[in-house]
């Protein structure tokens, strides 16, 4: 009897340890899960509904941040400055996950995105270029966007800095 209890105890300790290790955080190499229509955007707290605009990043701690608009991701990152292991965005054409550092971004006030940032991502440079010329947009890289997060657009124009600025 004592032996059985000992074995059970041993097994359960291993089970707990194993479980804790297995749950220790998201791997940056796996695109994160988003429940469309249910998950909230970490930046604007709205629901993430459309995959092609959705973005996410995985921090070095294994935490996942999710966004309904690629532009929102850069705004959020600028506010929080967390060390990021990987950025993930969707290919606008196919709505599949692609690595943020390998994506080609198009920015145009004529692209309607959920929060009006006007940024979408492409896997292929050629797709991006043809879309940019169609919408009169600029081709950007991840580094560009990290350095200069896009501003939300108001009525199709770039929004002017607010009177008195953003809340201190």
């Amino acid at each position: 009897m004592r032996k059985i209890i000992g074995t059970l105890l041993f097994l359960s300790v291993w089970w707990v340890m194993g479980g804790l290790v297995a749950c220790s955080g998201a791997s940056p190499d796996q695109p994160p899960k988003i429940r469309y229509g249910e998950d909230m955007c970490d930046e604007c707290k709205m629901l993430i509904s459309e995959a092609r605009f959705a973005a996410a990043y995985i921090t070095e701690n294994g935490d996942v941040r999710r966004f309904d608009d690629i532009g929102g991701m850069f705004v959020y990152h600028q506010k929080h400055m967390e060390p990021v292991a990987r950025y993930w965005v969707h290919d606008y054409k196919t709505s599949i996950w692609i690595r943020g550092d390998q994506a080609v971004y198009v920015h145009s006030p004529n692209i309607q995105t959920p929060m009006g940032y006007g940024v979408v991502a492409f896997k292929n440079r050629s797709d991006a270029e043809s879309f940019a010329s169609e919408k009169g947009g600029k081709i950007l890289t991840l580094q560009d966007l990290l350095a200069n997060p896009p501003q939300p657009m108001m009525g199709g124009k770039m929004k002017m800095p607010m009177k008195g600025g953003v809340t201190p």
Binding site: R35, Y36, G37, E38, D39, M40, C44, K45, M46, L47, S49, E50, G116, P152, M154, G155, G156, M162, K163, G164, G165, V166, T167
Partner: protein, 763 residues
């Protein structure tokens, strides 16, 4: 009044009103509706009769389209169904159905693409987008009923969309199963009296200034109203309940300036009011006044950077967390004044309607949760309540108050005039609850009935057959029985057989293994070796074997709280014996007049007889007794003993343990002697006693004068003798009890009296 030529050609009725415009009557059998639209002149009226008409319909001139009897415009699942492209169109009384499914193309029921269009009293269903306004300033969307497509939320469209359209009135529409009512880039809107449910954002404002939003019902959406990037929104007397989707806000306020949120009801949402970066401009402030915020998971959820808001005269009723700060911290520059707080513990002794001490929101676990949201998992756990309680008791660990309301109300302020859905009058819950209650109480009565007849009794109980005398086969066969308790070997390699009708005594000192053997026979615990009762292995057929055995233990395990009758009835049921047989057994044991008595109150002898009555229920061929008379006083012991003798005479097979030689001698055919688990002898009682050298104590009473002579004579004859007062104690073999008396008589020493003391024995 005259008929125009084209109208005659088309074969439809046309009336011209005195003003000069024409009234066309359109019927389903006639020419296509679109053709008539092309035909009509601006300002004409089309009276469309009930029936089905094919879409899409494009109206490019200011016509009045009036449906009579709800004509259907059918879009056949392609594109948008109706497009209104000229200012001043009136579109009233239609059913519009079957738009396309493409989100990208924004397939709609009705597209409103010019100013001052009135869309009224229409019913839209199976449409992706409902009514879509683009640059439609001054239009009115009124009294429409719009139902979206049964799609997953991300694939649905907006049931009303207002895009770059100022001064629009959206009034008294009923919307179900859409995505949002979304209003972008449009100023001076009025949204009132609408009922919106089952969507994503009931009302969603983006970049719309100076709107009035009032008396809407926003229920069961993901978010009731999500208001963003707008100035001077006046939001009042709206009813927001059960908005519990992903974000689950009653109202979400993001980047709003000078918003006035007045007299609304926020009930049972995940978050009553969510505030992020509102106000954003340094001179503006938001006012939240007179609202009822009740039964939400969070009453108000603020981001820590929110400043310059006024919360006044609101009622905070029983929210799981009245006010929460996302990410923890303290609120700065937010005024809380004269609100009602259901968790306020102060009093109003001066009766001015306000509490005498300020309300401070400082629950220990709440501030912990605000800072470490992961801990929310532990919400509702008793440990959390205990923690809050402990923190209250020990003020040292109290967190800083999240907020302080210096003048809390002690009575709720309920706004009037807020539209609310009619009270549910569904009796289902009451009925089901009553049913549950009834069944549950029924169970307790089931348990309380003292006379239970537990199921039917088989017609031909098996014990009849078992009671018949057996063949030559032994009733009990024990082969190499071993039983070990831990390191103690209680029974070592015991083998014996008992033939039907035999009576066997197990003899031996305490700890010799007698009781263990009995328990093994009953299969009460695992053992090594084989035991067969009437040819059945105890190990494999424990139930059948126990049916053939009646057992009376030494420590009676009867249920104290049962009556005598209940006891026999209970065991009779387990033994599949009829009620009448149970009564018969009671009578046989002389217990019939005690049947109502509770076992606890019975004397030892009566309990013993009750146990015997139970043992006899199934008329088993084999009866086991463990020290049957040890707990009884002498008189009772003797009458019980007689009972056993009767049973033996009836042909029962008996196995009993005993340490009274008298019982053994009278009752047993054979004695099995156990010593330290070993079977050391198996013989008739006297023989066993002789071989084992057991001696019986005789007390002889010679005349006092003869005492010394008798003593020395017996000693000389080699008897084991001892003088004790006026008596001589002589130990003899049970088979030779007469010998000392004979010896004394032979020697001419008379014996006046003698006693036999057979209990115990001495070897």
């Amino acid at each position: 009044m005259r008929l125009t030529l084209p109208a005659l050609l088309l074969g439809i009725g046309v009336l011209v009103s005195p003003g000069g415009s024409t009234v066309w009557t359109v019927t389903p059998g006639g020419p296509p509706l679109q053709a008539i639209i092309e035909q009509a002149s601006p300002g004409d009226t089309l009276k469309v009769q009930a029936g089905s008409y094919s879409g899409p319909l494009v109206v490019t001139k200011p016509l009045v389209l009036l449906g009579t009897g709800e004509p259907v415009i059918q879009g056949h699942g392609q594109g948008s169904v109706v497009k209104l492209k000229a200012p001043g169109i009136v579109f009233r009384g239609f059913r519009v159905t079957g738009s396309g499914n493409y989100l990208d193309e924004e397939n709609s029921g009705i597209e409103v693409l010019a100013r001052h269009i009135l869309v009224e009293q229409n019913r839209l269903d199976d449409v992706l987008f409902g009514i879509y306004l683009r640059r439609a300033h001054g239009s009115i969307i009124r009294n429409n009923e719009i139902t979206g497509k049964m799609l997953d939320l991300p694939r649905r469209g907006d049931l009303i969309r207002v895009w770059y359209s100022d001064s629009v009135l959206v009034e008294n529409n009923t919307l179900r199963l859409g995505r949002d009512v979304v209003l972008w880039y449009s100023n001076h809107l009025t949204v009132r009296y609408n009922r919106i449910s089952g969507g994503r954002y009931g009302i969603h404002f983006m970049y719309c200034d100076d709107a009035n939003i009032y008396e809407n019902q926003l229920t069961e959406n993901s978010v009731g109203a999500f208001l963003m990037y707008s100035r001077r929104l006046h939001f009042y007397r709206n009813f927001m309940a059960s908005n519990r989707g992903g974000s689950g806000f009653g109202i979400g306020m993001k980047d709003l300036d000078d918003a006035r949120i007045i007299d609304n009801l926020f009930i049972d949402n995940r978050v009553g009011i969510f505030i992020d970066n509102s106000p954003r401009e340094i001179e503006s402030r938001c006012t939240l006044k007179g609202n009822v915020i009740a039964y939400n998971d969070y009453g108000v959820l603020l981001l820590p950077n929110v400043r310059r808001n006024l919360f006044e005269d609101n009622t905070f009723l029983e929210n799981e967390e009245q006010v929460a700060i996302d990410g923890g911290g303290r609120l700065v520059n937010i005024r809380w004044n004269q609100n009602f707080w259901s968790d306020y513990t102060g009093l109003d002794l001066n009766g001015d309607g306000f509490g005498d001490i300020p309300y401070a929101s400082q629950r220990f676990f709440e501030s912990l949760m605000d800072r470490h949201p992961i801990l929310r998992l532990l919400l509702y756990s008793p440990a959390v309540q205990a923690l809050n309680f402990a923190a209250k008791a020990v003020p040292l660990v109290q967190p800083d108050p999240k907020l302080v309301d210096s003048l809390p109300r002690v009575k709720m302020v309920i706004p009037v005039g807020v539209p609310a859905p009619p009270k549910h009058k569904d009796p289902t819950l009451s009925i089901l609850s009553a049913l549950l209650l009834g069944v549950s109480i029924g169970f307790t009565f089931l348990g309380r009935s003292r006379k239970g007849r537990f199921g039917s009794i088989p017609k031909n109980p098996s014990h009849k057959e078992a009671a018949l005398p057996m063949s030559e086969r032994p009733l009990v066969q024990i082969k190499h029985l071993n039983k070990r308790f831990g390191s103690l070997q209680a029974v070592k390699d015991v083998s014996f057989e008992v033939r039907p009708g035999e009576s066997i005594a197990l003899w031996g000192p305490n700890g010799a293994g007698k009781t263990t053997v009995l328990r093994c026979i009953l299969g009460l615990y695992p053992f090594e070796g084989e035991i067969y009762i009437d040819g059945l292995s105890v190990r494999e057929h424990p139930k059948d074997v126990r049916q053939k055995i009646g057992f009376v233990p030494q420590e009676l395990g009867l249920y104290d709280e049962m009556t005598v009758e209940e006891t026999v009835t209970f065991f009779a049921n387990l033994r599949k014996v009829s009620q009448s047989r149970a009564l018969e057994c009671l009578c046989a044991m002389g217990l019939e007049e005690h049947r109502e008595k509770v076992v606890k109150t019975l004397s030892g002898g009566m309990k013993q007889r009750l146990a015997l009555a139970v043992a006899l229920l199934s008329d088993p061929p084999l009866l086991l007794f463990d020290e049957p008379t040890s707990n009884l006083d002498r008189a009772v012991r003797e009458s019980f003993f007689e009972l056993l003798n009767d049973l033996r005479a009836q042909g029962k097979t008996l196995i009993f343990t005993s340490h009274r030689f008298e019982e053994v001698r009278v009752l047993a055919d054979r004695v099995l002697v156990l010593e330290q688990g070993h079977l050391v002898a198996d013989a008739p009682p006297l023989e066993a006693a002789s071989t084992l050298g057991w001696k019986t104590k005789l007390r002889l009473y010679p005349a006092p004068a003869d005492l010394a002579r008798a003593y020395s004579h017996l000693q000389a004859q080699g008897f084991d003798v001892q003088q004790n007062g006026s008596a001589l104690w002589v130990w003899v073999l049970p088979t030779e009890k007469m010998a000392p008396i004979q010896a004394l008589v032979d020697a001419g020493i008379p014996i006046q009296d003698f006693e036999l003391e057979e209990e115990g024995g001495r070897s």
